[in-house]
């Protein structure tokens, strides 16, 4: 009984925390982008402009929620919900601190990969059901991009699994006692970060929505809260990938002095800022460049990483 209550509480905390951070990112991203472009960013509403989030929410909720008459209604409505659900799910297996986790799955890593693979459905279905050429192009791009980067994302993590000998995220963090995996698994880290950016289709890999060519890509036809869901989904994705980088390569909750949760949040925050910095500094590649980078550089790199890691482990016995 006590166990159940604790678990429910944990779910509420994680859910609330993830959504709170994701909505906070609306403000943080615009503020940081502003700073990196020698501007201030939103600084009017409330202290340092933090109430901008509330203002944006009010705006999104009061917008007309319109379904185009030519769209496939059921799928059109379902698509934004899918992305939020599939991205919220993996938060359940992330260990924020020792024993601070919704559920300690022994295949936590696979669960994360499976859920992020399901996320492809959302954008593809959104593009398809909108029945407009730009949305469809965006959806097609999203499908191709996310499926191919899915491959290296999985492969880049094999090294981590080899070193820690477990698929459970908690065990992976514990295996990093002494040496964080970012050093022995440096190439894994590089591939994972790039695949993570592509997977959340953030700039510079935001080809599915590429506003300069596709209006807004797969969500061109969306308005109101449905658009807001894609928006929140994107920020949740950034938070998730940052949390995963922390867990898999930067020792999760481990760190001196401060309590474990604080370390985890600090590291995650750092990577979120890094994601925003990427957006501020890099241009979007052409579509064929994106695919070429994936299959010609990332795939060999991650395969080599597996071979070398495996070889070293074998040699050490």
């Amino acid at each position: 009984m006590n166990e159940t209550i604790m678990r429910l509480l944990m779910i509420a905390v994680v859910l609330g925390g993830a959504l709170f951070i994701a909505s906070g990112l609306i403000w943080l991203e615009r503020r940081l982008l502003g700073l990196w472009q020698d501007r201030y960013g939103p600084n009017r509403v409330g202290p340092f402009g933090t109430f901008q989030v509330v203002a944006d929410m009010i705006k999104v909720f009061t917008k007309e929620d319109w379904v185009p008459p030519f769209a496939d209604k059921a799928v059109f409505v379902l698509a934004p919900a899918v992305i939020v659900a599939t991205i919220l799910m993996p938060f359940a297996v992330i260990p924020f601190a020792p024993a601070m986790q919704v559920i300690n799955l022994n295949v936590g890593l696979l669960f994360f990969l499976a859920m992020s693979a399901l996320g492809v459905y959302s954008v593809t279905l959104a593009g398809w059901s909108s029945a407009s050429k730009y949305s469809l192009l965006g959806g097609l791009r999203a499908a191709a991009q996310m499926l191919s980067y899915e491959v290296f994302m999985g492969l880049s993590l094999v090294g981590v699994v080899l070193l820690s000998g477990s698929f459970s995220l908690g065990r992976i963090v514990e295996a990093q006692q002494g040496l964080w995996f970012c050093i022995p698994q440096f190439f894994g880290l590089v591939v994972f970060v790039i695949a993570g950016v592509a997977e959340t289709h953030r700039l510079p890999f935001d080809l599915p929505e590429a506003e300069s060519e596709l209006v807004a890509g797969f969500h061109s036809e969306y308005s109101g809260m449905k658009f807001g869901m894609f928006f929140v989904g994107e920020y949740l994705g950034v938070t998730l990938v940052s949390a995963m980088i922390t867990t898999l390569f930067f020792g999760g909750w481990m760190g001196p002095l401060l309590p474990p949760v604080v370390w985890f949040l600090l590291k995650t925050f750092f990577f979120i800022c890094f994601f925003i910095l990427l957006r501020a500094s890099l241009p979007r590649p052409r579509y064929d460049q994106l695919m070429a980078l994936g299959w010609k550089v990332m795939l060999p790199l991650s395969l080599m990483n597996i071979v070398i890691t495996g070889g070293i482990l074998l040699a050490r016995g």
């Binding site: 990196w36 020698d38 910095l277 501020a280 890099l282």
Partner: protein
């Protein structure tokens, strides 16, 4: 690859730069004297209206937002009986100022002219007319023009010689 990392680093360093934003209502932007903002009608140094209602500004205006009606007073001076600028249409191009032969119409460095009602953006002559000479303090059209008005006959303007009697044959 190196260039990408270098780009990221350079952009990161912008965090410590000075901001270019001017936080407007608290900080005022500095506007050049020739900034093209709210339009005024100026007066000559004696306090008379400069505008001679020649319609040149109305013709030059690319969006047709000036309308006026010419009239003449007992002294022989032309003036606009009404002068109206629709600022909801004006694009602040400054063509009217260039077209004006008397420096009457001038654009000023003031842009704070928002209104809640569209029709309040239509400024009438009493809104436009200012009490001073604006940008050209010394200039007075009738003092340099060869036009006769009461109190100033032909040939009495500055830099003007007395009129020649064309029927007189004497050297």
């Amino acid at each position: 690859m190196i260039s990408i990392l270098r780009t990221i680093w350079k952009v990161f360093l912008h965090l410590f730069r000075k901001r270019v934003t001017i936080r407007y209502p608290e900080e005022r932007p500095s506007l050049a004297p020739r900034w093209r903002g709210r339009i005024v009608l100026s007066r000559d140094p004696d306090g008379g209206e400069r505008c001679v209602a020649c319609y040149l500004c109305a013709v030059a205006c690319p969006v047709d937002c000036i309308s006026l009606q010419a009239a003449e007073d007992e002294a022989g001076r032309r003036y606009p009986s009404f002068f109206r600028i629709n600022f909801s249409r004006c694009i602040f191009c400054g063509f009217c100022e260039e077209a004006c032969p008397t420096y009457a119409i001038q654009l000023t460095p003031d842009f704070e002219m928002c209104e809640y009602m569209h029709r309040n953006l239509v400024h009438e002559k009493e809104d436009l007319l200012i009490s001073g000479p604006g940008k050209y303090p010394e200039y007075s059209f009738y003092r340099v023009a060869g036009l006769a008005i009461s109190g100033k006959d032909k040939g009495e303007a500055e830099n003007e010689s007395a009129p020649v009697d064309v029927k007189d044959l004497m050297p």
